[in-house]
Subunit: 418 residues, 2 copies
């Protein structure tokens, strides 16, 4: 059988199948699994890419029945039971699990798509780190108006990624960047977090969203609520109220949509473009095909589609694997019931929010829980150790040490604001 | 005064001037100093870029008289005492130290320049790591002839960089890659090291070059001596003897030449293109201008130009700084005398060579000394700690964990062999 994607859903699916009497082939366009919940820490100069990325082959080194192939999937022929690759070849399957994930949603704003910086994958995070540092490099040698625009950072989207990155960026600026740039008046740097809805962290209990806003403001982040963004380009971001903010940096965390591969599939989909699956996670109207994670609209006990986040993806990936095994054994498949273990987001040093059942945690206890759970869910002892050391270093030294502006080979130019 | 370049020469120059009664501006096109002696360990999936790169601003955080600017220098107007930047502006100076380093020397082979992978800077190292891993990813799904070419790696140049990378690549393949790719017969992978001269490590005592060859061969590297490379492209490397080796990977460590900036300078130069300096490290025929490092042909006590390596660069950089200070105080300048502390190169796990005065070390003692000195010369406590931990991990686990194929943002394609 074939698993398309080695994100949270695909990886958990393949792990559950490891050691079972079934041949599994995992396809992913990258050679590594990415622990996206910590991506914003790569973008804010705290972690190395390798701390949150694991080679997929390494993860399955000891699983004799799981093979791995780095390949771009171009389409799935469900009738002919073949997966088509970008290199023109195709792979037959008896069963397939589609777990190809999601990409940044620009909501049709083309200007924004070319001007703003998303935060969805590793290249995004490195480009964002490079860009922010390059803004400060450039700011020291520009006229005051341009300098102010270079030191004004707009983050669009008040979900966990936007909240976490805005808090981390503020910490990066207020200590390490201040020490690096004595030639700049760092107090003039601004981080603006823009959310269309009435509160941050929609989906969390209201008191935690309010706490996140207060904590971010206390740390120097300006929070604009009920402020829809209607456009943007290299010079400014345009707000629904006809206001504009001049900036050289728009960080886009406003939403995701299913991967391009899903667009090409002729299967039933939701309005949001996610694959419709039945309660057993089978793709509706297709035989021997399951889907899980952001690409699929899994519903728990027939409710609304579960959010496009890691925890439902992991559970659905495992459930799809279990149903594949039941199917192989001739047992009846089981319905998927999502077990909500809660949601959490960090705001910065010593501050996070967590809602676990009826328990609400914030501030330092929430932060410790956040740290512990993220370490636990990271894959591999080495990565846990590396991240723990980086976090300890940051906590003791108020330092985000990976302040490198890196170039790709063959790129002779400095980053675009240089 | 202005220091052009934050490599070994420029950095040591500026560090010597820190705290002295002189205003220093350090210019570099990168925002970080790169510890190039460990670059091959980034290329062989052992170290992170941040382990060997330090933000220059961070290094001079506590030096009130040293300012840093990330900028590309386009030329120096020695008569008008101005440094011209690529952005069209220029910076006046009273004194300048040219320490802009070197670039890969392709010896006029254009086909080679577009086909081979150099190992001179951080983007080179990451591109090489990506490429080698992508070769194995591709090899598993190609016909036997192409598979053999994909698993054949040719390293050109038997100096320290070529020897060290060939040894590290062999270690990467023989354990971690073997574990990752059960679908490949890794015993068929070949690493070939090609040197035009009669022995490896020219400049070292002959017995150490011989030892390096034997050790590399013992570790599965094929060493071809007295084998000049006359050309190469994406398909093969051509040898002087009309022989060819079919390969998808040519790693080019055959030589360096001064940076492009030096080419544009109308000052006396050696046949190799290095700036002629007098024994006080002043550029010949130019007032108030010094040069140090690979860009300049410093001679110790009037001998032949010192090699283009880190130790002479560091000493010349410090000496140029001392002479600047003497000049400012109205004291006579002093001649530069290079103090040769020895040379060393590592071959792999538990094996290195070192020649320090009359002492020759090889094997395990040489390796321990190599490790200790490289840790000592690394800049910053954090980097030393990180590298020590990575080395310990590798030693205990036979693991080179950073086996990531990373893309640059906006690059939709897999690496070129994908």
């Amino acid at each position: 059988m074939v698993v398309i994607g080695a994100g949270f859903a695909g990886l958990q699916c393949a792990r559950r199948l490891a050691g079972e009497p079934v041949d599994v082939l995992v396809l992913d366009r990258e050679n590594h699994h990415l622990f996206t919940p910590l991506l914003y820490q790569v973008a804010s100069a705290l972690l190395n890419p390798s701390d949150i990325a694991n080679p997929v082959r390494r993860i399955f080194q000891n699983a004799g029945n799981v093979r791995v192939r780095m390949a771009e999937v171009e389409g799935v022929d469900f009738a002919g039971r073949r997966v088509a690759l970008a290199d023109g070849t195709s792979i037959p399957y008896d069963r397939v699990v589609v777990a190809c994930g999601s990409r940044t949603n620009w909501f049709g704003m083309d200007g924004m798509a070319s001007a703003a910086l998303p935060l969805k994958n590793l290249p995004d995070a490195l480009a964002l780190r490079n860009h922010v540092l390059a803004c400060f490099e450039a700011a020291a040698f520009r006229d005051p108006t341009e300098r102010a625009a270079l030191m004004r950072f707009v983050v669009v989207g008040g979900g966990p990624t936007g909240v976490e990155y805005a808090g981390a960026l503020s910490e990066l600026i207020r200590r390490p960047v201040r020490r690096d740039f004595p030639d700049l008046d760092i107090d003039r740097a601004r981080v603006v977090l823009i959310e269309a809805g009435p509160s941050l962290l929609t989906g969390f209990p209201a008191e935690l969203g309010d706490y996140a806003r207060r904590e971010l403001e206390r740390r120097g982040v300006e929070v604009l609520l009920e402020t829809p963004v209607v456009g943007g380009d290299e010079r400014e971001v345009r707000l629904g109220s006809e206001a504009r903010i001049e900036t050289r940096t728009i960080v886009w965390t406003a939403g995701v949509r299913p991967a391009r591969l899903v667009d090409a599939m002729a299967v039933p989909k939701t309005d949001g473009g996610r694959i419709e699956v039945d309660e057993r996670l089978r793709i509706v109207g297709v035989a021997d095909a399951f889907a899980a994670g952001d690409a699929a609209a899994a519903r728990s006990r027939g409710g609304t589609p579960l959010p496009m986040m890691a925890p439902p993806a992991m559970q659905a990936g495992r459930h799809a694997a279990d149903n594949v095994l039941r199917d192989l054994r001739g047992e009846p498949l089981r319905g998927f019931a999502y077990r909500d273990k809660g949601t959490m987001a960090t705001i910065g040093r010593s501050a996070a929010v967590a809602a676990i059942g009826r328990v609400r945690l914030k501030g330092f206890p929430g932060w410790i829980l956040w740290l512990a759970l993220h370490l636990f869910y990271l894959i591999g002892f080495r990565n846990r150790l590396a991240v723990l050391l980086e976090w300890t270093w940051d906590y003791l030294r108020w330092d985000r040490p990976i302040r490198l502006i890196t170039r790709a080979r063959g790129d002779p130019a400095a980053p675009r604001v240089g």
